[in-house]
Symmetry: C3
Subunit: 330 residues, 3 copies
């Protein structure tokens, strides 16, 4: 089964092919027939604006029928563990949920955030893996505990639209946020940027490193694609000469299992993206996956500046997802 779970499963030429297809969809936006007569389940275990709207529209514009499913709300709550005696609060086992859906639809998109309880377990993406295991149709990762590959593809398209496809200095910079957030977006952005051969700087406070194994994968990918990856803990250094500034808050592994743990408040001003910091870049562009907390993650001044590409980036979700969906039915 051909799933779309992470860009890590793709070669650079496969990534380039998807981006080419996305640009073609963007250049000529209309209803086509790649999914004609096909229904696609969009399973949301968490709120969503961009993913939910853009996936519905992507399926529609490819001629298909999106079917939204919200387990625990409009649909039943799901049990993920195998072999369990189901006498608790969970109503339906994923084995039935996914096998039944596979009979109804031609593909299953699924969004399931990290629970932020146990990093060692969640880093293996148990929920997404269960979907992939039981599905007899393609599964598309719409953000899991570990990855958000549709976002990363939209990010790569946004960078490619701005720059000729050559090596750039890409900064992934941590930001303070009032509550702990998952690592999927920074993981997938770093990985896709590495696969694309950029020189990546990952900047975060001490103790806020991304997952060791993910960082190793990013370094291997960057090097084999002619790029590099370094990590720094000083924001001032990080912004120097950057072409791309990608801001994101995340909670490191140590926060998992401590739902009320707060980031130290002094980190907020130390890491906010400001005009002063952007002035250190090489006229760098500003990116963020959205939703973004204004004047917490980034100042209004930067977010509303001409170098802020966040709306283009969000729009590109639609076009890359059309390319990904179409690729699954070629």
């Amino acid at each position: 089964m051909k799933h779309f779970l992470s860009t890590g499963h793709l070669s650079l030429s496969q990534i380039e092919e998807l981006l080419d297809a996305a640009m073609a969809f963007k250049a000529n936006r209309r209803v086509t027939n790649e999914l004609a007569g096909r229904s696609v389940a969009l399973v949301f275990l968490n709120p969503s604006l961009r993913t939910r709207a853009s996936m519905q529209i992507a399926v529609y514009e490819l001629g298909g029928n999106p079917v939204l499913i919200e387990p625990g709300s409009t649909s039943w709550s799901i049990e993920y563990q195998d072999g369990v005696v189901m006498d608790g609060g969970k109503t339906e086992h994923i084995a039935e949920f996914v096998r039944v859906l596979s009979r109804y639809v031609s593909a299953i998109g699924v969004r399931t955030f990290a629970e932020l309880k146990d990093w060692a377990h969640e880093r293996t993406d148990p929920v997404l893996s269960a979907f992939a295991k039981y599905a007899t149709v393609p599964v598309i990762n719409l953000e899991s505990a570990m990855h958000h590959p549709c976002q990363a593809m939209a990010d790569m398209l946004t960078i490619r639209e701005r720059f000729v496809p050559e090596k750039k200095r890409v900064l992934l910079t941590w930001a303070w946020h009032p509550k702990a957030l998952p690592m999927a977006v920074p993981n997938s952005f770093a990985l896709a940027a590495a696969q694309s051969g950029h020189d990546i700087t990952i900047a975060n406070p001490e103790g806020y490193d991304l997952d060791d194994e993910l960082i190793s994968q990013v370094q291997r990918c960057a090097e084999s694609a002619g790029g590099s990856c370094r990590t720094v803990t000083e924001p001032e250094i990080a912004f120097e000469e950057a072409d791309v500034v990608y801001a994101k808050s995340w909670a490191p592994a140590a926060f998992y299992g401590q739902p009320d743990a707060a980031h130290a408040s002094e980190l907020r001003d130390q890491w906010m993206v400001t005009a002063d910091r952007m002035a250190r870049t090489a006229n760098g562009i500003f990116m963020h996956c959205l939703p973004v907390r204004r004047n917490v993650i980034v100042t209004d001044e930067v977010l509303d500046s001409p170098n802020s590409l966040v709306i283009d980036e969000a729009e590109n979700r639609l076009h890359v997802q059309k390319a990904i969906l179409a690729s699954l039915f070629k």
Copy 2:
């Protein structure tokens, strides 16, 4: 940008043109292609039956794709204030929410009730205005704090279907309700009836007047269209010789900021629409936007009588909305 926010922005000939188009859609109900290939976002910050169902079907019957978005539930909660430090409970700023949606869809319908907290602020329709400010596609008001123009257009169609298009005696009569309700429906009904040149009576208990400025606008519109507008506080007088009885509960400005304030219970029987009161009319028709509390706003006897047009009125929502949507893409 061509928005549809209130009938106040329309000339009488524009209103007539929309009603003609609505009657044509009603006479020949089928799928057409005015919205072919286009997606329309329907943003609901409040529950809805008629608006939600009829807008989905209107978009479908015009060949398009409705996309439902429920901020705070399936989607993120929205911050409306500019310049704010977003470290509280709101996740996404309307500036991003609306600009991103504008990239995905061809029009945005939005329902956002009055919060009933601060009339001076809410009467300026700050939420709807923010949608209109940031949108780069047409915005359709599906009920705001101040107006419900789709309802008012359906009301005018219902009156026109029953009577030849001439001046009628139209009564807008207040009713008791167990909780405070917004003024959008009475505001928009009075305004559209005035624009259409009817003789309008607005009847409500003392202390329950609609907004001063709105009443002035209604009076100006009525006079310039050859009609009139008077306000009375005696229900018995109000019903005399009326051709149209339009019942609606609303909370006046004084109730804003007092969420637990209750209407005096004796007002209930004093203002309920009964068969006795309808007998004073000129064989008048009964109208209400629905949902309606039976035997609270109006008796079963009146609501179930042949002169009750509430179901036709609700059906007409569909046809006028098709006309409005189609007009935005001419």
Copy 3:
């Protein structure tokens, strides 16, 4: 008006015709035009996976437009009683809800579970009956307090696919569940199996009998179709030589009005479907409507065995519902 409320209204030849149509839809799955240009309201007062997804897809594959409505959540809460003074928590009367919907759509599907409060009242299906009373378009029962005919039709299709259409030994066997569940599924399965002429055994603990009148109807139907119906209270006897084992938990009438009443815990092991019990059957197939509690209703071993047809049974929901919908617009 041609409603689809229970298989009890159908002759055996009408059932056979629907199953033939379902098999034809299954053999050639594609988008057709039986519902072209038509919208169908799908009203859900309870969570659902299979019904919700399969009905949306059924309407889409017949060329129509599904419109989901969730009273009490995205839509208003509904009052069902006639003549009531609506000054409480319910916002809209079913008389308006259904008559308005009838203007917008070509058919109304409705799911409304038993409330488990008052069996004498709920066994008359008051909510479903109110929908049927006020609707001017066909109403399809997507599970009511008393019946789940779409499920029963999918069950009959599943049995017919496995066996040549001849008399089989069909066991409907009660199972323990952590909370009280309605009787709609066992009622409709027993009735449809009886109408199809099978030899039915209904097995449940003492005190857990299905409704007397329903059992009488099942017995009459079975006999007139050349089959039989017996009830037993011994699980070991029940499984002997069964061709079909259909497991389901239900709460008998005595549990209505006692929301916290629990089934005696020793009933769990006494009634779980195990490999040992299945070994007593005539190589019987295992069926369940899903969602199913693994290792509570049935062991993993039985549910994951080749004789378990639960996924086919769920898939067949789609095909029979297409047949039912299409039959309403012939």
